[in-house]
């Protein structure tokens, strides 16, 4: 295990934090899928310590996004809590399945699914998830005023079984592959379930913090969290999330969806590159 942290290692972790925070602010992703390989394969940090830092940055991203004034009206707490509960249940199954399924098969399946989601997100980049102002929003929908257009956006959670099933699978894969669920939930909620991109990403950003907290506390309690490395990464996240939030506010949803499609392909590529032999 690593006991001392050099200045250059802290600087690289801070840069990784900037990238993770930007992704969180823009797309509601935790960024762990980039940060863990960067720390382990790029900087030689042992896996448990890298995961501990990554979980801490996920929480920092979540705090920064959900605490920003512009994000609060976009977070659909009710829907987020409902899906989070399903995600947690999926996580429990993942804990059991981890001993039964070969990780290589899982990683290949995950990469294929990510690539398909990327294609679908790209093809549906012009699709608007907005209903008439007097539409019934159902138990899980919501309303917010779009900052760019000044118009009231009304939406409803469609295809509830798809949202529930996806959250369950996201929870399972989170446990099996050590990822946040945002990378799976955001594209599905947006492409199939009628949730606007900004609502899907900010709600996801809020919930990934809750998911990551219990894990992070365990790593912290076991002394696996390198304080200076985590501090540098978290400060990077603070800078990156401000940048990401600003871009999410000024960029049209279409551009965010194209960005998400690109990130999904990159995630798939990183996963293939990390395949165990």
């Amino acid at each position: 295990m690593l006991t001392t942290v050099s200045f250059s290692l802290m600087a690289m972790a801070a840069l990784g934090g900037v990238v993770a925070g930007s992704l969180g602010g823009m797309l509601g992703l935790g960024g762990g899928v980039f940060l863990v390989p960067l720390l382990v394969q790029g900087l030689g940090v042992p896996m448990p310590q890298a995961v501990a830092v990554s979980l801490t940055t996920v929480i920092a991203t979540s705090n920064a996004v959900s605490g920003a004034a512009g994000s609060r009206p976009l977070i659909n707490l009710r829907m987020g809590f409902m899906l989070e509960l399903i995600t947690a249940a999926g996580g429990l199954l993942g804990g059991v399945a981890a001993t039964l399924l070969p990780q290589r098969t899982l990683m290949i399946t995950f990469s294929v699914v990510m690539t398909l989601m990327s294609v679908i997100t790209f093809l549906r980049r012009d699709h608007q998830n907005a209903l008439p102002e007097d539409a019934d929003i159902g138990p899980w929908g919501g309303r917010y005023t779009d900052e760019q257009t000044g118009r009231l956006v009304v939406y409803r959670l469609d295809r509830l079984p798809v949202a529930v099933g996806t959250s369950f699978v996201a929870g399972t894969l989170s446990t099996l592959l050590g990822l946040g669920g945002g990378v799976i939930k955001v594209p599905v909620l947006n492409a199939w379930c009628g949730i606007p991109m900004r609502v899907a990403s900010t709600t996801s950003a809020f919930m990934i913090g809750v998911t990551a907290t219990s894990g992070a506390l365990i790593y912290f309690g076991r002394g696996l969290l390198l304080p200076t490395l985590a501090a540098a990464a978290v400060l990077g996240v603070r800078v990156g999330s401000m940048l990401g939030l600003r871009l999410a506010r000024i960029w049209p949803p279409r551009r965010l969806k194209v960005m998400l499609a690109v990130v999904l392909v990159l995630v798939a590529a990183v996963m293939i590159a990390r395949l165990p032999q």
Partner: protein, 86 residues
């Protein structure tokens, strides 16, 4: 409550910066690590505090379904933490 969360965010950043700066100025001292630990702990409890606050808010509004969902999440997080430490 929004102000409280904004304050904890700024306090966390301040503690982490202070910890990193003092770790360079006072090598070998335990102070920098302790400052960073306090900052990281504040960071980690924030999401759970938000869920607790939401749960209380739902109870006050009489929204039982949402209160039940948030309470269930808190129990799952606590159970996960308990199981993982055993």
């Amino acid at each position: 409550m929004t102000r409280l969360f904004a304050f904890t965010g700024r306090a966390t950043t301040g503690l982490l910066v202070a910890g990193l700066v003092t770790s360079g100025l006072l090598p070998g001292s335990a102070w920098p690590t302790q400052l960073i630990h306090v900052g990281l702990l504040m960071l980690m409890v924030t999401p759970i505090t938000r869920v607790v606050v939401a749960c209380v808010g739902y109870l006050r509004e009489g929204d039982r379904l949402s209160a039940l969902l948030t309470a269930a999440i808190l129990m799952l997080v606590a159970a996960g933490g308990y199981l993982a430490t055993r």
